[in-house]
Structures are given as C-alpha cells and as structure tokens.
C-alpha cells in the first residue's frame, strides 16, 4: 500500500514544502498552541495528570493493605471498604489505586519503547531514502501483519511473565505506525529549503538530523506517543486477561481478569467488575483526546488517521495516504 499515491498525498506534500510554518508550529509554542481553545485537550490532560498523581502517591491514598485479607469475600461497599472487597477479601479501592501504578507504568514505558524504535526507524527511513527506506518499510509491513498473540506467547514462554517483558512486547507491537508517521513527516522536512541550505553549507547528516529534522518531527512524535499510551494500557488488559500477564503484580487488567475468574458476576459483585474497566476507559479516552488534539493542531490532514490504529491494529490511514 505504501506505493499508492493519491492526489491528497501530493497536496499534503506540497503544503509541507511551502506552507511549513502553519503546518508545524515551532516546538516552543507547541503545547500552548495545542491547548489553546481546545477544552477537550485540557480536560484530557487534567485527567491524565490526576491519574499520574494517584499512581505516584498510591501508598498514601490506599486505605488498606492489598496483600492482606481485610474483609469478607465480596463484601459490598461501605464506609470502611469504599468499593467493597474482592473474592479474596482484599479491599477493592486500594487494589484499584495500586493498579493505577502498574497500568500507567506499562502504558508509559511501552509507549516510550515504541517511540524509540518507531522514531529511529522512521527517521532513518525518511532521511536516507533509497534502498534503506525500502528495506525498513518492508520490514514494517511484515510486522504489521504478524498477529500480536504469537509474539506475546513466545515472549511469555521464553522470557517469563514479567512486567518488563510485557512492556517490551507491547512496544514491539506498536512501533510500526509511529515509524510510518515519522517517515512521512521526515520525507517532507528533508526537502525544505533551510535543510537543503544547511546541507549545502556542509552540515553533516548527524547535525541535519539532530538540529533540523528532529525538532520538526518531535511534536508529532510526542502526539503519537500519547496515543500509543492509550493503546498500551488497552493491550495490557488484553494480555493479562488471556492469563499471560505478570502473576505477581496488580494492574487494572489483572483486576478485570480476577473478577472474571472469581465469578464476580455470579456473585452479583458489581464493585469488583465495574471500577477497573471504568478506570481503563477513562485513561484511554483522556489520552486519546490529548493525542488527537495535538495531532489535529499539528497537521489537520491527519485527522482521519489514528482512530483506526487500534485494538485490531489497523494500518493507520495517514500512512496509507501520505507515504511516498
């Protein structure tokens, strides 16, 4: 698909060449440009920051120990246990608070891994072009079609079910869309006048990439990473639900799995089922709103794109329209 060119792509490229000032705001004004007049971006960011604070201060916020039985089995919520207890008599509210920690840890770390791999591949591919580009993009195409599960299972089986392995595997699964996005952007930046000018006065590749290309690509990369956080939090619940999660940690995914395995539904314990799912949904929604607003502010043409890059891991539409 990467070699399908449409008039839209041509238009986007032209715009990239000539109207670069409007399309990519400078990095300094980037955050404020994104947030100004975008209530949903501000709301999303507030929610994300709130959850980060909960994760950091988890020990202070949690009301009970999460390693001890502090109540009966599936006790309904009351003044002592704000969200009742689970099938082991552990306080649900405290579990949820500590779960925030692990879920966000996985989300941020995995998105970082995806950003590093995808950013590197995208920059190399877009900057050098030629056979390097072709080779890297074909590798990306292959990664796009491997179903996630065999990778997950193999990693879980060989390296064990540790949190760090889950983080790496999620990063490996999600780097492809980042790579395509960055590559398209780098390709247009590379041709801009000031980059060519810098090249003509003898700037080396390293200097060109770090001083000229990277600053232009960075905002888009950050926006994409924020969206990847949402995907990573989602995929963690998926992996854990299939019994391939880290057995020693409590994440939101683990809480959903526990409620399923512990027959919370049959026991009419809504407090064990509903909260973890609501928490996941809110975080994904918030990250999506922030990331989407950023991408829209940076490049209005991408608007259709990333919503498709999701749980069934579709190829992003912008990769589709704007590559080559």
């Amino acid at each position: 698909m990467s070699d399908v060119t449409t008039p839209t792509a041509a238009v986007a490229d032209e715009a990239g060449l000539e109207g670069s000032a409007e399309l990519t705001p400078g990095r300094r004004g980037f955050i404020s440009t994104t947030l100004r007049g975008q209530p949903q971006a501000i709301a999303g960011l507030t929610v994300v920051v709130l959850f980060i604070l909960i994760a950091i201060f988890a020990p202070a916020i949690a009301t009970h120990s999460i390693h001890a039985k502090t109540g009966g089995i599936y006790e309904a919520p009351d003044g002592n246990h704000w969200l009742g207890t689970d099938d082991g008599g552990v306080d649900m509210f405290s579990l949820l608070v500590y779960g925030t920690r692990v879920s966000l840890e996985v989300g941020f770390a995995a998105a970082l891994v995806a950003m590093l791999i995808g950013g590197t591949v995208g920059i190399i591919s877009g900057f050098f072009g030629g056979w390097v580009d072709t080779l890297l993009m074909r590798i990306t195409d292959v990664f796009l079609v491997i179903p996630d599960l065999p990778l997950i299972i193999v990693v879980a089986a060989i390296f064990g079910r540790h949190l760090i392995n889950i983080i790496i595997i999620i990063g490996i699964i999600y780097w492809t869309s980042t790579a395509r996005l960055v590559r398209a952007q780098v390709k247009s930046v590379r041709e801009r006048v000031y980059v060519q000018r810098a090249r003509s006065i003898g700037a080396g590749n390293t200097r060109l990439v770090t001083k000229h290309v990277l600053p232009q690509v960075a905002p888009l990369l950050i926006a994409n990473t924020v969206l990847t956080i949402a995907l990573a939090v989602f995929l963690e619940t998926y992996i854990t639900f299939l019994g391939l999660g880290d057995p020693s940690t409590i994440s939101w995914g683990k809480l959903i799995e526990n409620s399923f395995l512990g027959n919370a539904v049959l026991n009419n314990a809504w407090w064990a089922v509903v909260p973890p799912g609501v928490a996941v949904t809110i975080v994904i929604l918030a990250c999506t709103m922030v990331g989407q607003s950023m991408e829209d502010a940076l490049n209005p043409r991408l608007r259709v794109g990333h919503l498709a890059v999701r749980r069934f891991r579709l190829r992003p539409l912008h990769g589709h329209l704007e590559s080559e």
Binding site: M1, V4, P150, I256, F260, L317
Partner: protein
Amino acid sequence: MQRSDYILKRTLFALLTVFVAITLNFVLFRALPGDAVTGLKCHNCTIQFKNALRKDLGLDKSKWQQYVIYLKDLAHGDMGTTFISHRPVRGELWDPIKKTVAMIGLGTVFSIVFGIFTGVISAWRRGTVLDKVSVWTGLAFYSVPTQWLGLMIVYFVADRIGLPHGGIQSPDYGILGNPGTLDFLKDRIEHMILPALTLGLVLYGDYTLIVRSAMLETLGEDYVLTARAKGMSNWAIVWKHGFRNAMLPVVTLIALSLGFILGGAITIEYVFDYPGIGLAIVDAIDKRDYAFLQGAFLALTLSVILFNFIADLLYFKLDPRVTT
C-alpha cells in the same frame, strides 16, 4: 501504472508476505524452549522412548531440515497433529473457525450498518447535540476494553432480555425429541447474539468515527457546494455526492479491520464461552498445545494478509485517481 501491473504487484507482495509469515511462524514457535516431547507429561517414559518419539516427529533433524519439511507439509495442506488430541490440526481448526466467522459476521454487519448510519448523520448535523452524543458514544465504545464490555453485557443485559450468556447450545437442546433445522438455527443464533453484540459495539465505535471524519472531509469539497447551489435535495447531496466519495477510506479501513477481527474476537469468545477459534486458542495456551497454536496463528495471519490484499484491490477499484 496499468491496472494489470498494479494487481500483479500487489499479488506478488501478498505472496511474499505469506511466505515471510509462514517462515516467521516456524521461527517463532521453534524458538520456544523445549519441544513437543519435553512438554510430554509422562512419568514412565524412558529416555529411549522419548528419543524414538523425537525421531518419529522429525525433531532430531536440524532446524533447517525441519523448516523444509514444514514447508513441504504445508504445501500439501498438512499442518501437523495437535499435541493433546493427536488429530490433524487442519481439521481441528476448521470447525471453530466456522463458528467464529458466523458470530463475527453478525457483529460486523451490525457495526457497519449502524456505524455508517450514525456517522453520516453526525457529519451532516455537525456541531449539533446529536453529533456530540454520537461522537461521545463512539469514543466511549472505542475506549472500552473488549473483555470488560463483554462482562458488563453478561452482568447487566443478558438476564434482563432473556438471552443465554454462555456456550453455543442450550443445555436442554435435543433432549426432547429431535429438533428440526429451524429450532437448531434459533438456538444457535440466540447464543450468538450477545458475543456478536459485544464485538459489534466495539467495532461500531471505530466505524462511526471513521465514517464521520471521512464524511466531514467530502462534505467540505467544492462539488458538494455546487450540488447544493444547483438545488439538489439533502438526501441526494449526502448519499450520492458525500457518501459515495467518503466510501473510499471507509471501505478500505473496514476491509483491513476484517482481517484483524478473527484475532480480536479471542477475548469475547473467552468471556462468553463461545466455542470458536478464540476459545480454542485460549485453551491451547492453557495446555501449551503449540502445534495447534501454530496452525491457528497461521490461519489468523493469512486472514490479515488476505484482507490487506482485498483492501489494496478495493482501493484501486474505488478510486480511479490512484496511480502508482
């Protein structure tokens, strides 16, 4: 580029991807520690017996020879035998895949119909309360973890509307006499509705947002303004001018997503205990039946490649502007 050239190029790429996928499938599963014989639970087996078994299964040969044998067997449609039931993998795959396809077919039709309907209306009535409600509903379903939505439906919906929430057949089915075809179908469909609804809602979130974005883009085009100036009815503008042109990204994305749905249905089948390919995979993960997993993943990968290929062709067919 000529039509035939394009098709030829895409076909070659698809075939190449199939080959890479098959190879990766071999490599990934041979990378697992131990082999079929190590995993064998049998305390009385002597080392001699195990070695004989290895020889029998061809595991004593070099990896390269095993790879050639694997390719040869695949070319004859032989995917090996399962570890647990010792039946041919191909036969074991077929029955659950049929059940899954029926279920996801129902869910996909639901999501496409409703997704297009609300997406188009939402774009046409942009900025109204209706639009906002539709977008937020779409975003909510987009953010919700699939398995959790399934649990919610089991918990809050199933009993209220009197539909079964597990299995594929009523426990009393066929006890009183021999039921006719109609009864059989009714029973099957009743068991299919809730898992299909879960999948349908999750996909609905994606589709309605994609349709809306695509429609917004086309409704802003000059020819829509012209149509309006000519005094055409709203109906004709929306469907004939707007939707016909918005179809391109929509159809391509839906075709792409179909390839991933087969894998995406895994957690849904697990929650609803629906005996499709997803449940079979969860079962195989549990029992470490790598032979079955390998076959199942090959099937999933092939479905992704097939639908990618279909999307490529559709893209070409729907947009005469496409040139390569």
